[in-house]
Symmetry: C2
Subunit: 389 residues, 2 copies
């Protein structure tokens, strides 16, 4: 194997894929990244895989001699990231007998040697088979931003540790819930209505049709990858029997779907409300962040006092032994005076997932689910169960 | 007590003093900061103290009613740092009977209450008595930068956990050693020679005369405080029987001296050498930082190969099982070909403490102490014991 590549591209690929490489691998080779040099394509592919989530990243390189090798992810990443931005030459002579062959990394400033492991033992990423859908990267990004935080982090809750994604026609619905709150985002593939729909603006893509639950861990990696792409870039989604694959221009992300039936969350969302309140989103977040200082594991209750005639919302946090705080802000309130309590952490996380300048709270009684929506026209709801005061 | 002050000034003072407040105080009140409002001076003073190191910071404020109270450092810091940049009003009604009085913090956006503890139980900072010396802040900053890193972090080594500071005439010598390396910096109070010395450019200050060892921990706080001051600001140093006090314009730092005789380090520094080598400091640091990736607890040896005819230094790190690296760079070498080994961490720390473009290594044999000096005219040496190859 002999590769001539740029330090920058190798560094980027390594930092993308090393995140899924476990620091304490169950088998030594899983602590390595797989490097494949394709002479015909003049392309290098770097893969990290922990048997659950896998990332593969490719970049163009001068491949004088093709080959396959695995190298310790952490060490390789540390060496490459410290090298100056110049050409790097990676060489490795394949010999049958050697179990841990030495791989050379040369550049202008010096020469390094790393002991690798042969590539044949490295597990294969799942093969992409099944239905493919082409999605705008922005749609995925927005969908995940609006609901990923609400997935359960409790591994025993299985299906709730994932995000439910349902594609139907030209719409994807993203949903996540941990039992205390529910976030649902609906994204259309085409934003402009009426424009070019008849001519098939999807670029030949078929109408969406999938119903899957994907582990939040996998989607956090997707979110990270998406944060680095260009606005117009598209993502291919392949849904197979047990796996799901996201394929971008130079990155491929793969992982298992979560099995089981996702709860019928739409039935939980009330459609009529007795009172509503519109507040500035940034203002209420700032207040809650200050009050959150007084919360701890025992006490996370924030009280809302709605005063319609004064057009005022007061948020109150009481933490007997250490103190407490109270802030008031302008709010447009319909209905009568009213008090209700929330878990401050859940409330803050939800409000931060919106992007709108203002949000609208929809209430019924003090123990009935509360629905928060943005005022920017996006189809997104955050349902949160109140805490009894 | 009633104080009207700016959020920014209170925040700065709190972040300065909270660093010394222990997170697990031996007595509850030591987890608090002391707040003193002086009506006559219109000044607020905030103090943090862990019985060993104390910091006091003052700032001007509107004091409508004087008073003394202590408040939980962490909680107060978190609340104040999240408040918008506006006026803050702090109020507290002194009542004899209350053990944990409630202190109010009001600003435009809201009202907070924190439970404090009365100030009378808060321990006094050591009183400043003894000789006072006025030192330029820059001199202290440079002296500490050049040697603080070399103090021992092993608490059992007592006197070696400090920095030795010796003032004599118009010179301060800073020294620190942990037994493996020694850093000595000599700083003159007046940089320009011959200029105004006769008229007493020190501004009336007396000739220096002290010989003290100060805990590195205290000096790290001083370094942090100095990083925020103006270039021309001066620091008063008071040396008392058991304590030492650094007084800046608005900050006071106090702590215990280390007792015992500091080793006679000057006797350890050789004065004649067989070989020397001049290298670019940044270049050798970059190489060593890459090679350091291969070091671990078992292996920290970096080898130097000096090749005078080729005007080349090669640095080599071998880490058998995982690999290794080798880099070469230009160096002006006097003497014969030569090999020597170092602990890579110690070497790097020393090189980073210099500021010069080039450094000069002075060698005798491969097991005799090596001396590194800067080539920028500063009086600084770094002595490091080689590691046998």
């Amino acid at each position: 194997m002999k590769i001539i590549c740029s330090q920058g591209q190798l560094k980027n690929s390594l930092s993308l894929v090393s995140r899924v490489v476990p620091s304490r691998p169950t088998h030594p080779i899983l602590g390595n990244v797989l490097i494949v040099a394709d002479k015909r394509k003049n392309e290098v592919t770097v893969t990290g895989f922990d048997l659950t989530v896998g990332i593969r990243s490719s970049f163009p390189a001068g491949v004088e001699e093709g080959g396959v090798i695995t190298l310790p992810a952490k060490l390789l990443n540390e060496v490459v990231s410290r090298l100056p931005e110049e050409e790097i030459v990676i060489t490795y002579e394949e010999k049958e007998e050697e179990e841990n062959p030495v791989v050379g990394i040369h550049c202008l400033s010096g020469r390094f040697q790393l002991r690798g492991m042969k590539g044949d033992e490295y597990p294969d990423l799942p093969v992409v088979e099944g239905n493919g859908f082409s999605l705008p990267g922005e749609v995925l990004k927005e969908g995940l931003k609006g609901c990923l935080f609400a997935a359960s982090s409790d591994e025993t809750k299985q299906i709730l540790t994932g995000v439910h994604m349902k594609g139907e026609g030209d719409t994807i619905e993203f949903a996540a819930t941990d039992g205390h709150r529910l976030a649902v985002v609906r994204e259309k593939l085409v934003e402009e209505e009426g424009e070019g729909e008849e001519e098939g603006i999807y670029g030949g893509e078929k109408s969406l049709e999938f119903d899957i639950t994907i582990p939040a861990r996998l989607l956090r990696e997707l979110e990270r990858i998406l944060s680095g792409i260009k606005e117009e870039e598209r993502v291919e989604l392949y849904v197979a029997e047990t796996e799901v694959v996201f394929r971008l221009k130079e990155v491929l992300l793969t992982g298992r779907k979560l099995e089981g039936l996702y709860p019928e969350y739409n039935r939980l969302i009330p459609h009529s409300f007795e009172k509503t309140m519109v507040v500035e989103r940034r203002r209420i977040i700032d207040s809650l962040e200050r009050l959150e200082v007084f919360s701890d594991q025992k006490n996370s209750l924030v009280r809302f006092k709605l005063n319609p005639p004064k057009r005022e919302l007061t948020v109150i946090m009481e933490a007997g032994e250490i103190g407490g705080g109270k802030e008031s802000m302008t709010a447009e309130i319909s209905g009568e005076e009213f008090e209700i309590g929330f878990n401050i952490k859940y409330l803050l996380e939800g409000l931060k997932a919106f992007s709108s300048h203002e949000v609208k709270f929809h209430f019924n009684g003090p123990v009935q689910p509360v629905v928060v929506t943005p005022l920017d026209g996006r189809s997104m709801i955050y349902l949160i169960m109140p805490v009894q005061i």
